[in-house]
Structures are given as C-alpha cells and as structure tokens.
Amino acid sequence: MDEVRLIEVKEDILADNKKVAEGLRQKLAKDKAFLVNLMASPGAGKTSLILKTIEVLRADLNIGVIEADIDSKVDSEKVAAQGIYAIQLRTGGFCHVDATMVAQCIDAMDVKAFDLILLENVGNLVCPAEVDAGATLNAMILSVPEGDDKPLKYPLMFSIVDVLVVNKIDFLELSDFDVDVLRKRVLTLNPGIKIFEVSSQTGQGIEAWANWLKEKVYASIK
C-alpha cells in the first residue's frame, strides 16, 4: 500500500540562519561593536578598501578585521602587518559566510574591545546576497573595471546592501563605465542606498566614505 500523499512543509530554508543573524546583531549592539559586512567580486578591492579605511579611522576607533577566505591567509596577514587585529575565518570551501560562522569568530575575539569590525566576505556577488551574515551594516564594493551593467546581472546584491562603494574610479577615464547610469540603475533597485565613489589606490573619496562610516558607528555605539 504505497500511496503517494502530500505533506505540508511551509518552511523558509534560510529561516535558521536569519535567527542566528538576528541574535548576532543583538549581541553586537549590546557589546557596542559595529560589524560591517563587505561584499564584492574577487579583486574588486575589499582588502585595499579595508586598509585605507583603517588609515583614516584608527585614531578614533578600535578596529578589528575578520578575513573570510576560501583557503588562504594572504589578506589577514596584510591587515595584521598594519598592527590591526585580524582573525581568519575559514569557510571550508563555502562561497560565502553564514551567521553561524561569523558568530563563532565574534565569540573567539574580545568583541567588547572593538568599536568597528570589518568583515571581508568571500569574493562573489551571488551567495553573500542570499545569506544574512548578521552584520550591523551591509556594504558592497563594485569596481570600475567590472562594468556599470552589474546591477542588471546581480540585482539581489544591489538591492540588499545599505551602502555601495564604487572603487577604482582612477580607472574611469580608461573605461566606458558611466557612473550616472550606474547610480540610476542602483537607485531603481534600492532607493535608500548610499553611494560613494573612491579609489583605494589614490585615496580619492576615501575620507568621505570613512567619515560617513564613523558617524554611523558613533550613532550606534553611543
């Protein structure tokens, strides 16, 4: 009597992660630490922007860095070389970090000692957009060489972030990247988003971004 029957499931498969992410955000708020989840394609300039941001903010804020890499310590060593606390998060081959992995990292560091924690997510625009890492602020970097059509290809990422940093603007004159077109596309998907244009090479625009971030941190950890 093998009858086929239908059973109800009605479950959001990311619900477990969302719960952990909410818990992490509450813990961070309680411990007065501000976690920024930095997402971008490989090579967009995540590590470079982290280093530049640290230069501007290190006098005012205690900063820590979480480096998520599939399997390398190159980036965390660059950060540690600046005398900044960096912890390596091993994703075990995963293409993104989830809230549980981040929470483990946060537990392993003395989180109360930090005002600002910068998380370099794994380089990819797909999965980090789907999976809430539990951060206070979600940020994306798009670099000029990637093109102004990326919102058409990865709409989810552009729609979930609080802030977009357009990096490598020193490349603008060499490319057909149109910042106005990009802005229009991004604002269509996400009217509330904040957009900065920077170069992590020349330092152009870095102050504006870093100071905006500092205000956010102050407002939340006060």
């Binding site: 059973i7 499931v9 009605k10 479950e11 959001d12 293409c95 919102p151 058409l152 709409p155 009217p191």
Partner: protein
Amino acid sequence: MHELPVIESILKVALTHGQKNDVQKITAIYLQVGELSDLEDEWMQRYFDYLSKDSIAEGAQLKIDRVPVMMQCEDCTISFQVDIKKIDEIVCPECNGKSNKLISGRGYFIKNMEVI
C-alpha cells in the same frame, strides 16, 4: 557551486519533515524560489541528486515555482510586477513614480512534498 549551501538546507528541511511524518520515500519537493535567485533549476536538481544519494529523498524531483519580482511605488503605494533585466525602464505604471522598493522575489521556500 553556489547551489550547494542552498540545496543542503533544502535537503535538511525535507529530511526533517520526512522523518517527522514517517515517510519511506520523498518523491517530489515543491519549492518557491524568488526570481532574483541566480540558481538555475537544472543545476539545483543536479546538486540535489548528488547530495540526496542514499537518503529517503534520493530520486526526488524538485518542482520549482518562480516567485515574480514585485515592486511597490513609494508615492502612490501600488504594487506591480517588474522585469528586473530591464531596470532602466522601471517606473510605476500608475503615476510614473521612480521611487520603487522591492517587495518580493527573494528567498527559498518549501511549500510541500510528495511522499510515499
């Protein structure tokens, strides 16, 4: 390979519900997937077949329903469906407003399963 973590979660939820309901075999899983998801049906099935081997979900078909992307106009509050590939042309069909916020088209939801 971006399918892997999502498929793992789908399988986990499916197996939990299978065990709870004392089923011998899961033959189909009905899913709602937001159109903003970059995962392709064919690849989701392939990864599922791979991960579900030797479990009660082996051989189950993923029946995937795409949830359309909807936006809501901030000016006149009506909701409308959009083609996200044409974002250069998205305006509110009612008032031509350009401040529209995304209200659906995300996520992965398991509706139900066919089981034996």
